[in-house]
């Protein structure tokens, strides 16, 4: 693979945008900051395409840290991620030019946005774990800044801080995982470790531990159970942020980490099973929590949690390529769902409660189409992108174990139901609010047109046999991991039909049910618990956060006491010091005598110990 200076340049472009807009953004008139920022991301995208066409690239600086190079690699896997990050990222940048119109922090917003892209590209292009960690925490920082973008509101600032701290728990896992790998293999280069592990006869017994710790990092970043609590709150940021960071790109970093480290996980079946179980649990939890939300963005946020669970399930059962395929389709339809939510919010002057929406089909015809395509793709309507990738996950989990498949199928049904709840409440029926809805400007509509096109069509790169599947062999070239063996075609198509029927039934049912205005008692009760996301925050607060806080106050007090405790000792030493001070007379012989005395004391103590 050729060395290419274009590779660091890909990262440098948006980083430059961050620096420029951060320093001089205030002097620039709207929409210049947005245009500059978008242009730079487009530049990164084009560079990525160029290098991918050249068959990849690498670049490195030796001994960035002792024995650890600063190395970047663009292969098919990271190349595809660059396409997603910079491609979808570009569209969302353009959308934000319209969405952030007249915001006091316009240029600050685009500075942060470019910082995010630079860090995300660092994350995916890294060929050494510490470099990946730069991106990993860098996107965390960007996420922190953007969630708390409107920081004067306490709630936003709190959400931002919460996201950062919860992620840090996972990051400690990432750090320790690197320490284990370093202690065992003496290297932290991803491709170096890959070669080492693939070539070794007997694998270290610590490999599962390393895998587990890295997985902990992935749990944090991708909001998996039990560290999922930060993602719904992250919706406090402007909607383009939710679309870019908390749906299309950053939160999928955990999946990417697992796929990139597939060479570890294929050797650790127990950890992989755990990954699959955590993924399934998250998928169920997210789906159930989506039903009770009234905030248009929080519904989509919980659906993201759930879909990320799907991706982890795929990675857990060893279908890394399938997991990345779902990252790809999800990036399109989820960004679309968020941006059309954004258009609705925009049209209603900031309204986010779906109880005061409805009827947008009439008021916002184009946005309605976007929302519909997004919801159907999410719900898994046959032939749309979400259908193909979800089906691939179902097939892979069927191969792995029937219970997992059953669970995943149940989630598919739930997904179809709640995506219709979202669609119906927002777009159908009569408008229930007082604002004067107006369709978005072209700068916001066009990105959505393109995203909708993607949500419709992108699934065709991953068709089941006998059709040509483009994406799996493409990714396998990078990971070196073949997809788990294919089921026979009859079985595969049976599964496809089952999933198609389930999705279609779910969509139809959801469409019917959620147009009603009265619901049975049990559903209301369920919805109540779902709204509070089954009390996860309360649980954390009472079991962890509050005890830790009280302990901090306690220790703080005790630390003052520690000093008081020394007072007694101090007085003693003090008098000793004072008498010693009297010895400082300037007479050399006294000093020498003192020295000798001390030395004698040491010797005596040494001898009679």
């Amino acid at each position: 693979m050729p060395e290419s200076i274009l590779l660091p340049l890909t990262i440098t472009l948006p980083a430059l945008g961050f620096a420029l807009l951060g320093l001089f953004g205030k002097q620039l008139k709207e929409p210049l900051p947005g245009v500059i920022a978008s242009g730079l991301v487009l530049g990164s995208f084009l560079l990525g395409v160029l290098m991918l066409l050249q068959g990849g690239a690498r670049w490195q600086v030796e001994n960035w840290l002792p024995g650890i190079p600063f190395s970047l690699l663009l292969d098919n896997l990271s190349g595809l991620m660059v396409m997603i990050v910079a491609g979808v990222g570009f569209l969302i940048h353009v959308y934000a030019i319209g969405y952030m119109h007249k915001d006091a922090g316009y240029s600050r917003f685009f500075a942060y946005f470019n910082l995010f892209i630079a860090m995300m590209l660092t994350l995916v292009l890294a060929d050494s774990y510490p470099v990946m960690f730069i991106g990993w925490e860098g996107v965390g920082l960007a996420s922190y800044l953007l969630i708390g973008f409107w920081y004067h509101d306490r709630v936003n600032a709190d959400s931002a801080r919460k996201a950062f701290i919860v992620n840090r728990i996972g990051d400690l896992g990432f750090l320790l995982g690197m320490a284990v790998l370093w202690a065992v293999f003496g290297s932290l280069s991803v491709s170096g470790l890959k070669q080492q592990i693939e070539a070794s006869q007997a694998l270290s017994s610590l490999l599962p531990l390393a895998g587990l710790l890295l997985f902990l990092g992935a749990i944090g970043k991708s909001a998996q159970v039990p560290l999922m609590v930060w993602l719904p709150d992250a919706m406090a940021g402007p909607t383009p942020v939710s679309a870019l960071i908390h749906a299309a790109t950053m939160v999928t970093a955990g999946v990417y980490l697992l796929a990139r480290s597939g060479f570890i996980y294929v050797n650790t079946p127990d950890v992989s099973l755990l990954i699959a179980l955590v993924g399934l649990a998250t998928a169920v939890y997210g789906a159930l929590s989506a039903f009770g939300q009234w905030d248009i963005k929080r519904i989509v946020a919980y659906s993201t949690v759930s879909q990320l669970g799907y991706m982890f399930l795929a990675a857990g059962v060893g279908a890394y390529g399938v997991a990345i395929f779902h990252v790809l389709t999800h990036a399109f339809f989820k960004a679309l769902l968020f941006l059309s939510s954004g258009s609705v919010i925009h049209a209603l002057g900031g309204e986010q409660d779906i109880r005061r929406m409805g009827g947008m089909k009439k008021h916002l015809p184009q946005t309605h189409i976007h929302g519909l395509v997004g919801a159907l793709a999410l719900g898994g309507l046959p032939l749309l992108s979400g259908f193909w990738s979800k089906d691939a996950i179902l097939t892979a989990s069927f191969e792995y174990g029937f219970p997992l498949y059953l669970g995943a199928l149940a989630v598919a049904l739930l997904t179809a139901l709640y995506s219709m709840r979202w669609y119906v409440s927002v777009f159908l029926g009569q408008y229930r609010g007082q604002a004067h809805p107006h369709e978005s400007p072209p700068v916001m509509l066009w990105p959505n047109h393109l995203l909708a096109l993607g949500a419709l069509l992108i699934g065709f790169v991953g068709l089941p046999q006998p059709f040509p599947n483009l994406i799996q062999p493409f990714l396998a070239k990078a990971t070196g991991l073949e997809a788990p063996h294919q089921p026979n075609m009859g079985l595969e198509w049976t599964l496809i039909v089952v999933s198609a029927v389930v999705a279609a039934a779910g969509l139809y049912l959801g469409w019917q049910i959620f147009q009603r205005t009265t619901f049975p008692r049990w559903f209301i009760r369920f919805q109540h618990a779902s709204l509070r996301s089954f009390y996860a925050d309360e649980l954390y607060n009472s079991l962890l956060v509050n005890p830790l806080k009280s302990m901090a106050s306690l220790l703080f007090g005790a630390d003052g006491g520690l000093l008081a405790g020394y007072q007694g000792v101090a007085r003693m030493v003090g008098s000793l010091g004072a008498s010693l001070a009297r010895l400082e007379t300037g007479y050399l012989r006294l000093y020498v005598a003192g020295l000798l005395l001390a030395a004698a004391l040491m010797i005596l103590l040494g001898v009679f110990r």
Partner: protein, 472 residues
Amino acid sequence: MIHLALFLPLVAGVVLMLAPGLGRALALVASGATFVLSLALLVRYPGEGLAYNFQTPLLEPAGVYYAVGLDGASLFLWLAVSLVVLLAVWLCRVPGRFLALALMMETGLLGIFAATDLVLFYVFFEATLIPSLVMLGLFGGKERMKALYTFALFTLAGSLPMLASVLAVRYLGGSPSFLLSDLLAHPLEGSAVGLVFLGFALAFTVKTPLFPLHAWLPSFHAENHSSGLADAMGTLYKVGVFAFFRWAMPLLPQGFAELQGLLLLLAAFTALYGAWVAFAAKDWKRLLAYGGVSHMGLAALGLFSGTQEGMVGALFLLAASMVYTSGLFLFAGMVGERTGGLELNRVGGLAKSAPALSVLGLFLVMAMVGLPGLSGFPGEFLALLGAYKASPWLTLLGFSAVIAAAAYALTAYQSVFHQHETRAARDLEAREQVFAASMVASMLLLGLYPRLFTELLEPAAKQLVLLLGGGS
């Protein structure tokens, strides 16, 4: 050149003490020249070993020399110290005598790193205390005498056993002098080793500081002048990690081996404890004091791992944190100057009226949190890699501090800069902008291209690993 750099601040300090009217200009020239000289010494450094060696007998019969020299580790620290002093002098508008004391202290600090004779080291180590105490006594807050008393006693309590150890290490080992090279050539063996090491350890632990000997630090910072100048100098005085590295560990490898377990435990506990306690702090000074304690715990964890990467990390973290922790104290001083106090709940929403100040704060806070790409990370990370090899469980314990660090640092930052704006504050003026730009540049340089400095530290660390008995 080394002597010039070493004593220029002292001379300037004395002159300034006598003629405080010369004030900032003289202090700037002196500290600027020292920084440039340090930089020049660094550029001309051959890459490994002790360079710029010089020795001349001070007390011939007692085997005491004026002997100085610099290796990669001490050069890096020289650069950190001289940069911080320069920036602090540039930033702080304080009386000339205050600056004079800071300059005198600079010579003491540079001497600590440069001394290659144990008695000379001891003299620098102790003498630096004097300007620090005077600063606290002259310019401190209401409770300053109490803080001063505490600080002095802790230091003394550590120094006395250390003095005994200084003597023991030479006479029991049979070395002809107190020169580092002689002492290394006549290693001390036998049963007294542990005890002699303990004597050093007490003094160095006070100055690292490690739990439970950190107790002097919070009140020291809380009572010092609100400009943060004295706190910055105090931060530079936390030389324990270096002292272990240069003296206690190489001279007494066996003694270190005996106490390694205990020291690792203390270090790990300190790291978590400091960060945890910091969360409950109500003002900037105590927050930073405890946060700094936590960082030194992490550095010590790396150092006591006895591994090469751990020690490189420890020294890197020491030097880097000298810069950003001092920066944070000075930054807190800037906030205090604008809002009239250092309590964290005093104001909110400053980011709106003072965006540049808030950006500086964010950079500093993130460096402290150990965000990769800034100067806090490389040291912390290498310390982690080393510490894990020595003790996985203590590493887990100690490095849980990275979670706590995010909690205390961001909570404090948020309460002052985010949330509802309670009052407006003026943003950075030109003088402060220069300070901010230099700070940010130093953090980015160390964070993005750590190789520049890790390569300086590696040979020194490698040597100590050999002395400690092998390449674990």
